[in-house]
Structure formats: C-alpha cells, structure tokens
Amino acid sequence: MSRRRLRARFSKHGKVRFTSHRDVARIWERSLRRARVPVAYSAGFSPRPKIAFGLALPTGYSSDAEYLDVEVDPAWEAGIDDGTLVGALTASLPTGMTALAAAELAGGEPSLQHAVTSCTWRIDAAAASAREVSEAVSRAMDSSELLVQRERKGRLSTDDIRPAVHAVEVQPNINDGVRLIAELATQPRAARPGELLASLRVPLTLLRACRLHQWIATDAGERREPLAVAELSVAGAGVAP
C-alpha cells in the first residue's frame, strides 16, 4: 500500500503572524478540508488527520518559507502538481497566509523535521549604531565560540551557538536600526534569531523577523530547499511584513 504525500510551501505575513504554531496547524486542517483535499486519517480511537509540520515558527515572526507534509488518499484523482491546487489552498487560507507551491513527495523523502538543517532569517533590530553592530558581527564570526544563556526547566545554562551560525550579513539601511540576513542551523543545536542578537553583546532590540528560506544540506555539501526551486511559483514570496 503506497503512501501518497503532498508537500506545500506557504508564507505568513501581517496580522496573522501572531498566530502560534498550534494555531497554524488547526488553520491548515480546516483549510485543507475547505479546499477539498482528501487528507488521510490515522486509525484508532481518536482519528487525526495525517499532517506534519516542519520547524515551529516563533509566534510573531513572519515567513516566506513554511512547509507542511500532508498524507492524502492514494485514490485522489485531482493532480497535486496542478497549479489550481496552490490557488485553491490560498483561497482557503486566512488573509496573510499564501500557498506558494505544492508538489507530490517522492517515496522515502524524510520528514521536514529531520531533513531541514538550517534557515535563512531576515532580522530587523533597533540599534543605536549600525557600525557598532557590523563590528560586533565581524568579531562574532571571527571568534571560536558565542555563548548565550538559556533557561531550561527553570535552570540557566550556557550554550555555545557559534557552530550554528553559518553566515551573517549586515544591512544598515532600515529606518530605525539594522537588518541582518543570517543563516542559522536547526540541528544538532539550533540557534534562534533572538539568541544571535543576544550573543553580539551590543544594545539591540528585535523588531521583526522573517524566515526567508529553509535548507536541507545534501551529501554533496550543497544545500537545497524542501521544495526544489524548479517547482516553485514564488509569486507571493518576498512580501514585506
């Protein structure tokens, strides 16, 4: 019995970015039903739709690169690659959420949670001096460790996030501060945009963050997106928050 899986990419901008990861899951359950996608259900006492989301996007962040995998009825006639599906999904989603691409997954493709290795973030932060931030970023990239404190189960621990910071570019041209474009790893130890700012040890307040890409590292040492660029119709991507 072959499983048939659909992967979709969507963006999240504007007011709706204040919904939580769990909220987004519920929104998708309803939207898939409205778009008449025959989602497969788990068996048993309390059947659940078989939908898997990738890495949670922190509440309040926007994104051009959210993904979900949906197991569908193998007998579903409507074509997954058909451009109408993307339109139907967008029509079923709330204002601010836009389906960007959808494709059928090859068998054996690992789950998003396992496959994704890093994300590219656009981080806008209030800062007194853009130059000071640029210097702090240079120092951080040159150093061998970047320590941040985090609270876990009520206890403070200190972690080194330097291995998780792949690249940071500083753009000093936003109104009230700086814009960082950062590629941060998601495993084994993930680094979050807020942690990157904290690790720079200059006065910085996070204003807005947007996930631009999720990346899967390949064995060849390259990276690709969970939905390959050729399949993308990124009409709505890059919308300002």
């Binding site: 909220d23 309803r30 259900y41 509440t59």
Partner: protein, 658 residues
C-alpha cells in the same frame, strides 16, 4: 486613520496569546463607517477565547452589518498583561475588526451571559476611555448598552448602563439603530437625555435612568418611571419564528483556540421542561423550533464554508427537537469525504438520547455528560427535573454497553428543601452508576460535578434564600467524606465563594452598583477565573457600601415583597411563578406544556405567539417531565413522528399515547 493597529502591534510580542487581538477570522465583516451610519461595538466582557463563540453576539454582528444604516465591530476584554501595557501606553479598548478606538462608536453593547463578568464590563467602559457611570457621560460619548440573559435583572448595573435589551435582540437592535440614527441625523435634539427618552419607548428596551428606585426602611419598595411616556413595566422582546432568522449565516472561524471551536447551529430557542432552577428555560419561552430543512441547510453550508469537522446542534435540550434522529443521520451521512462529528451539548438523561449519541460519536467517542441535577427523586420533584433513578440508570447502562467508559454527571447542591439525605443521594447515584458500568467495561469512571445553587430572577426559586458559603462547603464535605473510598468516582465542585458573589449580583437591586464598582476599582477583574476571584474583596466592598449580604442573598423573600426586577417582564406571570414555587415546596412536579394543557405561565398569551413545535407527540425516552409513561431503556421504539408545524400543533393534546 482611526486604526490603533500600529500602536498595538509593538505591544503584542509582550502579550500572552497575541492572536486573540488580531481579528482576521473567516466570516469577519467589512464595516462601513461614515455619515448616516450608526456604529456598534459588540463587546464580550471576558477573553476572546470565551467570547468569540458567543452566538448572540455573532447573530447581532451579522444583522447589524446587513443594514444599510448600521456598522458593527467586535471587542473582547484584553487579558491582564495586555491591559497593563495598554494602560501604560494610553491605548484605549479597540475593535478587533479594524482596531478602531471604542469611544468612536455610537453604541458599545455588552453581552451579559454571567454575573461575574460585571466588573469586567466596568473595566471595558473605563478602557474605552468613557465615564464608567452613566451620569458622567456627555452627548457625544457612546451609548453603553447590554443584552443577554443577565439583563433579566440589570439593576446591579443600572448606574453604568444607558440601556439594556430584554429578550431576543434580533429585532431590537434594528429599532435602536433607527432611534439613534434619527437622533444623530437631526442634530441630537435634547442631548443625551433626548435619545435615552426615545430609547425608553422602544419595546424591550429598558433605560435605567428613566426610573427611580424607592427604598423604605432599607428595603426596595418600588422602581417607578420618571416620565409618563416611559412604560411602567418593560416587556422582553421575542422573535416569533426562528425560520426568519437563519443566523449566523457566516459563523466566525477563529484563527486561534477558543472554547466550543466548532460549527454551532441553533435548532430551537426556549424550553418548557420547566426545571425550576433554570433561568434560561424560563425566560426564553415559548419554544420555537427551527424547521428541520433549514437546520440541514445551515449545517451543510456551514461545514463546507468553515472547514470544521464538528457541528453542535444547540438548544436547551436538543433531544427534544422534533425529528432530531433524521437531522443527525443526514448530518453524519451527508458530510461527504471527511468525517464529521455531531455534538448535542444538552443531553437528556435517557437511553434514547444515548442511542443518538452512539450514532453520532462514531468517530471520536470521548465522554458522555448527563445532568440529573439532584440526587433523589424527591429532590428532583422539587426542582421539576422529572427523571427517575431508573431513567438515569438505563441511560448510563446503555452508554456503558455501547462502549463509553467515562461519564460525567452534573448536580446542584443548596437546592430548596434539600436535606443531607438528598445531598448524599448524589454519592449513591454515582456509586450505582459505576457498579452498572463494571458489568460492561473494565474500569468505568464517573465524574461528579457539583455546583452551588444560585437562585435567579424570573424563576420559581427567585424567592429562595441561597445557602451560605459555610452550608455549601458542609454539603460538599459530606460528599467528599462519603465518596472518599468510592472507586471510579471523582468528585469536582464549584467554589461556593464564587456562588455567593454570583448570588449577590444575580438578585441584587441598584445598590449593588456601588459594590461592583468597589470591587472593580480594587483590581477585581476576571472574576469568572478562579485564580482572580477573591471573595474577601466582595465582602469588603459590601461592608464599605453598607450592603447587607444576608438580606440580599441568604434571606427567603416574602410573597408581597417588591423584587428588584418587578418593573421588568420575561412574559411570566408573577402568580404563576409563585404557584410553581409553592408546588416545589410541596414536591409537586409539573409536566411539559408542549404536550399537555397550558398552565398559563404568560409567555405565549402575553406575546400572542405559540410554541412552534413540529411534532405533537412527546419524544421517546424516559418519563422526562412529559408525564407520559413512555417505555424506557433500550426497548423504546426510537422513531419520532415528524410533522409540519401548524399553528396549533404546540397545543395539541396527545392523550392517546399516555
């Protein structure tokens, strides 16, 4: 631009659950503000999660937005963390739809579903940057109104409300819109007092400032109109036929988690079971069923539009809906590719109902909830919940035999004439239910949920002196001791202290306003939330305001006494209620008047309308207050007669099946 969004947005990352402040739900309307438009801010005085599903608010939201002369938006009480941020930033209460400041609306209308939200009403008015007391408001300030079940006695809020709507709001909001629109359009003649005087003449609209409360020796003796053109008694509004009001047509689908997160379709309004403790059943008479065909349409279109996989058929007793079986079957079978579950929020206690439940909970069988309300047959005759122990046992046995393992039973304690034997009868019933379950499932469990009884206006128990906190605690203690070693029975109870505050607000007169304001000014908001409720604050307020708690709450009221709501009417004759109160004390039950002769309670005759019931035959099931000796348990023929509603059908006598 009048949107506060850009001031609110930077605060949201610091607030818990920020999605409750963003709006943007499917079903959200696009309000058109401007000249000639009366704008309404429909406000639920509790959190978004509690308030969004409120059907009354959603119905009026659509009806108003369909009018060319009105625009309606929604607001909910911000949680304590955001409120603190808003106050420190000087940000007022806002609508969710366009984040418009509350004070820019012509009318701020509150839904009053629970007395413990009253302090939140004051808080929301204050957050709106409007004077909390009605007397402090000027000509251009919003009119502060209220609707919902608690307006059957709005007196505790009389100092703060400009008007209250009694009964169904569907037609009243249109009338109010016209009065306010005319007043605004003609240069606000007479100022604020002018529009209030005009509103007082609208049927169903009560304007507290047009009435004077008279006290003698510390007792209320009259509430009198100040002007001859103001009605001495304000009658509630009642829509004659639900078929004319197929709302909500576009139920709001929230983006974040709320209670009752499902499609809700109201199948009938009103109830004539006659449970004497139940205010909702008394004040919403007569029974008005929605045509089954319309229910089916609202269900199928609603599911398709919203994407929900669950629909609740709501009413005060959904198993009484004529043709319920067919409607349920059509819903379950007509859902197409996805699985749909149906829930019936108010289950009747009988095997027939369990049969329907088995049919609809095929997908997700969680737990079943029954409300026998009292532990002994004697007590249930007093409260007129005429289900026998056998009714309950056959329902429970039927549920266990069909695979349910968990049962929840709701009870009240502190009922009139209740003895310790009645209280302990609750424990006895629960133990017997678990014992019945053992022959069907491995570890049956029964959760017993006990609430302290709070007498409500316009019920036969409105004269009853509520039990004290100490007495309610003692009774709960009896149950705890008795059930300590009962395997499979979990006991839960509602805080008796909260019942006292609820009792104070429920039957209080205008003097309670000072207490509510006192509690609010000392930070007593969100009193429905146990972590924020503090009885000490209410007691301190009562003593500071010279209010005698015993006199308002614990004292039995006399027959000749003036009640705080005597100048208002829910259609029920006061002598009917008094007779029913005497019957209660004599343990005399009263059958359901849908299928027996009229008792002349006043609800039908007073408004010239009839019960709208499609079936002249009582539904199958247990005795259930029908007085009919219908067979019970699994052997009943679970088949209902479905008939076209006829003008007289509600009155038809059905002696044959007795």
């Amino acid at each position: 631009m009048s949107s506060l969004w850009h001031q609110l947005e930077p605060l949201l990352p610091q607030a818990s659950k920020p999605a409750r402040y963003i709006g943007g739900e499917d079903g959200m309307q696009t309000p058109r503000h401007g000249p000639g438009i009366v704008s309404w801010l429909l406000t639920y005085p509790d959190t978004y999660e509690i308030g969004l599903p409120n059907q009354g608010l959603q119905i009026l939201y659509e009806i108003l937005n369909e009018r060319p002369d009105a625009a309606a938006e929604r607001a909910y009480a911000p949680w304590i963390d955001l409120e603190a941020l808003m106050r420190s930033e000087g940000l007022p209460l806002f609508s969710l739809d366009t984040h418009r400041p509350a004070a820019l609306f012509d009318v701020i209308a509150f839904n009053l579903s629970a007395e413990l939200t009253y302090t939140n009403v004051l808080n929301c008015i204050d957050l709106a940057q409007v004077a909390v007391r009605a007397e402090g408001r000027g000509d251009t300030d919003p009119l502060i109104g209220a609707g919902g079940h608690c307006t059957s006695n709005p007196e505790p809020l009389a100092d703060f409300l400009d008007f209250a709507v009694l009964g169904d709001g569907e037609e009243a909001v249109g009338d109010i819109t016209e009065v306010v629109g005319d007043w605004k359009g003609s240069g606000r003649p007479g100022g604020r007092a002018g529009v209030l005087r005009a509103l007082a003449r609208v049927p169903g609209v009560y304007v507290p400032s047009m009435y004077r409360a008279v006290y003698r020796s510390g007792r209320l003796v009259a509430v009198e109109p100040r002007h001859s053109d103001v009605p001495a008694v304000v009658e509630k509004r009642t829509v004659a036929d639900l078929a004319d009001w197929p709302y909500p047509k576009r139920q709001l689908v929230p983006l974040t988690e709320v209670v009752h997160d499902r499609l809700n379709v109201e199948v009938f309004r009103g109830c004539t079971r006659g449970c004497r403790f139940c205010q909702a059943g008394m004040i919403t008479r007569p029974v008005r069923e929605r045509p089954a065909e319309q229910v089916r349409t609202m269900v199928s279109e609603g599911l398709r539009r919203t994407g929900y996989d669950e629909v609740a058929l709501t009413s005060l007793s959904t198993a009484d809906f004529s043709g319920i079986e067919q409607v349920v079957a059509d819903t379950v079978n007509g859902a197409g590719c996805s699985q749909v579950s149906v829930s019936l929020p108010s289950l009747r206690v009988d095997a027939f109902t369990v049969g329907i439940a088995a049919q609809i909970q095929r997908a997700r069988r969680t737990g079943l909830t029954f409300a026998p309300e009292a532990g002994t047959w004697r007590m249930r005759q007093v409260i007129n919940k005429l289900i026998t122990n056998d009714d309950l046992y056959s329902a429970v046995e039927s549920a266990y035999s069909q695979g349910w393992r968990r049962m929840k039973l709701y009870f009240l304690t502190g009922l009139p004439t209740e003895t310790d034997a009645d209280t302990l009868g609750i424990a006895e019933l629960a133990r017997n239910c678990v014992a019945l379950g053992r022959s069907h499932v491995r570890s049956p469990s029964v959760t017993v949920s006990v609430g302290g009884f709070v007498p409500k206006p316009f019920t036969p128990f409105q004269w009853f002196g509520q039990n004290t906190v100490a007495e309610l605690r003692r009774k709960i203690g009896l149950l705890r001791d008795d059930l300590r070693r009962a395997k499979g029975v979990q006991l839960k109870w509602h805080d008796p202290a909260a019942s006292l505050a609820e009792g104070l607000a429920s039957r209080g007169d205008r003097r309670l306003g000072a207490v509510i304001e006192h509690v609010w000014r000392r930070g007593g908001t969100f009193q429905e939330w146990s972590e924020h409720f503090d009885l000490g604050r209410w007691q301190a307020a009562a003593s500071a305001c010279g209010i005698d708690i015993d006199g308002h709450v614990h004292r039995h009221r006399r027959a000749d006494e003036v009640l705080a709501w005597d100048h208002l009417s829910a259609g029920l004759h006061k002598d009917f209620l008094w007779q029913d109160w005497q019957d209660a004390l004599h343990e005399v039950g009263l059958e359901d008047c849908r299928w027996t002769p009229c008792y002349d309670c006043g609800a039908c005759t007073g408004y010239g309308i009839e019960h709208v019931v499609a079936s002249a035959v009582p539904p199958a099931g247990g005795s259930q207050g029908t007085g009919m000796d219908t067979a019970r348990g699994g052997e009943v023929p679970v088949r209902l007669l479905e008939r076209k509603p006829e003008a007289q059908s509600g009155r038809t006598l059905v002696g044959a099946s007795a």
